[in-house]
């Protein structure tokens, strides 16, 4: 792996040409940068602006400045706190379970089993299925109390007629999420396993490590950065889960499966309270940003460390 190809700007070529060189380098970056700013940052700034207003689309002319009033309401909002809790449980739970399962699957697939390629093809399928389709599929053919397969399969264990989506909404939604994200984790962990230098493993064998000890002492430390990456990347995506919730439970029963994105959606497109929704959005962003910055700095340290080699 090569390090950054050269230093950022060549020195000692005179002020004018250095500046030109600087722009030549920035040039290719500009289109993407401008595009992103226009389509994502500008709207965000507008959201910020709206968050300081009270504005309900159903009441035309209700646009007026209320300062931090919306934010105060957010902090007092019990539903917001509930949504936050649900988000945390859903995200961490799904990500961690998917990671554990993904690691186990990767370990399985790493061995020379017959037809390994086909098994891998089968295993990545859940990730490719449209999330909305997956939600629909599980809600009907799998979880239905009368006609669903899960009930049918669990019959020998004395389970029948259970409406999973109604009685265990969070678990049901998380089951679908884990089903979808395990392949993602598996692929990352598989890359980690395959990037292990074989001679270190052989050295461990010669040094007397049994398979499990070798795994614990050599493989696991090697996999740690991959696990961190998988969790981080997965969490970034999983936090924004919307499709499965919308399709399967519409956030209910009650608010048991309402996460932050869904809550925001409700306030925006069902309540039409723009001011409130905006402040919710900003609050969500702030929280996400803080958490992710901490996590990202850790991964970035990983990045820059490897590049220093």
């Amino acid at each position: 792996m090569t390090a950054i190809a050269e230093r950022a700007v060549p020195a000692g070529t005179g002020r004018g040409s250095a500046r030109r060189e600087g722009w030549r380098r920035r040039g290719p970056l500009m289109p993407a940068l401008i595009f992103t700013i226009v389509v994502t940052q500008v709207p965000f700034l507008l959201t910020l602006y709206y968050s300081f207003q009270s504005w309900n689309l159903l009441r035309p002319g209700s646009f007026h400045f209320v300062g931090l009033g919306n934010y105060a309401a957010v902090i007092r909002d019990a539903e917001f706190r509930d949504a936050l809790l649900v988000t945390v449980i859903m995200t961490l739970g799904s990500a961690v379970i998917a990671l554990v399962l993904g690691t186990l699957l990767a370990l399985l697939l790493e061995r020379k089993v017959l037809g390994r390629g086909v098994v891998r093809t089968l295993l990545i399928s859940p990730f490719l299925i449209m999330p909305a389709a997956a939600g629909l599929l599980w809600k009907t053919t799998m979880f239905d109390p009368v006609y669903g397969l899960v009930n049918f399969v669990l019959q020998p264990f004395g389970v029948h007629g259970v409406d999973f989506v109604a009685r265990f909404p969070l678990a049901s939604v998380m089951t679908v999420m884990v089903w979808r994200w395990t392949p993602f984790m598996m692929l990352i962990m598989l890359a980690g396993l395959q990037s292990q230098p074989t001679d270190v493993l052989e050295a461990a064998r010669v040094d007397g490590a049994r398979p499990f000890a070798a795994f614990r002492e050599v493989t696991l430390p090697h996999l740690r950065p991959y696990m961190e990456l998988g969790l981080l990347l997965g969490a970034i995506y999983i936090v924004g889960t919307f499709d499965e919730i919308y399709i399967m439970t519409q956030g209910g029963p009650g608010t048991s499966t309402t996460n932050l994105p869904f809550y925001l959606y409700q306030r925006t497109f069902q309540g039409y309270d723009i001011g409130q929704a905006a402040s919710l959005g900003v609050a969500t962003v702030i929280i996400t940003f803080i958490v992710m910055t901490i996590a990202l700095r850790t991964v970035f340290r990983l990045f820059t460390e490897t590049e220093g080699r």
């Binding site: 380098r25 959201t47 399985l108 295993l123 449209m130 629909l136 599929l137 053919t141 990352i188």
Partner: protein, 289 residues
């Protein structure tokens, strides 16, 4: 393997040794296949059900034997999935092209001839990905409405491009870093400018990486639900939006639902299967290095 004392009878002619571990290998193979099938089963069931008559699908005990029919697919097509698919295709293809157009030079600027503050640049892109799109939906919705561009497939193209751009930049950058430095330096010494560096030296090496990035973008664009739900209605409805119609319909429409979900998932599923290697490269290596 145990440290057993081997037989001391020294063979006059060397014996051929039996390869051990064949039994263990079979065990793992069986387990792997079992797990693979369990994970795949819902997909299999979905496809199976799509060929059933409703009465065969909506049963208490699952039916494995049945007379297959294409009725469900006919119904789904007459229900309008064709237009939805066309919209999805346009949105996916064009947004991916737009992403590549923007991301390739940007990734270049963050790797090969890096901008002075490339770290900040990268961080910025990743940062935008972390903001839940739901937060920015309000002004986006209003802006698009004011532009009269609601229910327009091209709004989707722009939005999907913005959605996928950060990941594309991140992935492409890591693939660019793979190009051996010596090759680039040799090209520069030979007088290659930026454009030639890109096309002659780099593109051949990073072509699989670009394919992987494109595949990821295609997957995320095709499956995208939120924007489609809120910003389209009848004309620009994409496939995920089409599926919404099945949510509320309780009752015996499961086979049709299965047909719809199968069709919805088919393109990405096939693309992912065929370009599996690229997919793996994209998801794991692109993100890691």
């Amino acid at each position: 393997m145990t440290a057993a004392q081997a037989e001391t009878a020294a063979p006059a002619a060397p014996a051929v040794r039996k390869r051990s571990g064949a039994a263990a290998r079979t065990g793992w193979t069986i387990l792997a296949w079992l797990v693979g099938l369990v994970f795949f089963f819902p997909v299999l069931w979905m496809v199976l059900t799509s060929f059933k008559q409703e009465r065969d699908a909506y049963t208490t005990t699952p039916r494995v034997v049945f007379t297959p029919t294409l009725d469900q697919y006919r119904a789904v097509f007459s229900g309008g999935i064709g237009t939805a698919a066309a919209n999805s295709a346009i949105a996916t293809v064009f947004s991916t092209l737009l992403v590549l157009l923007l991301a390739v030079p940007a990734a270049y600027a963050l790797s090969i001839r890096p901008v002075k503050r490339w770290r900040d640049g990268l961080f910025f892109f990743i940062g935008t990905k972390m903001l839940p799109i739901v937060a920015a939906i309000v002004p986006i919705f209003l802006a698009i409405r004011n532009l009269g561009a609601l229910d327009n497939v091209w709004s989707m193209v722009v939005l999907y491009a913005a959605m996928n751009l950060p990941i594309a930049v991140w992935m492409l950058r890591s693939f660019f870093l793979e190009v051996p430095r010596e090759t680039l330096e040799a090209a520069r010494l030979d007088g290659a400018g930026v454009r030639q560096e890109l096309t002659e030296v780099m593109l051949p090496v990073v072509a699989p990486g670009v394919a992987a990035t494109a595949l990821i973008c295609v997957i995320f664009s095709w499956n995208e639900f939120f924007f489609a739900l809120n910003l389209t209605a009848t004309r620009a409805a994409t496939v995920p939006f089409f599926l919404v119609g099945f949510i509320t319909s309780e009752g015996p429409y499961w086979a049709q639902l299965a047909a719809a979900t199968t069709l919805a998932s088919l393109p990405v599923l096939l693309a992912g299967w065929i370009a599996q290697k690229q997919l793996v490269r994209g998801l794991s290596m692109g993100a890691i290095k």
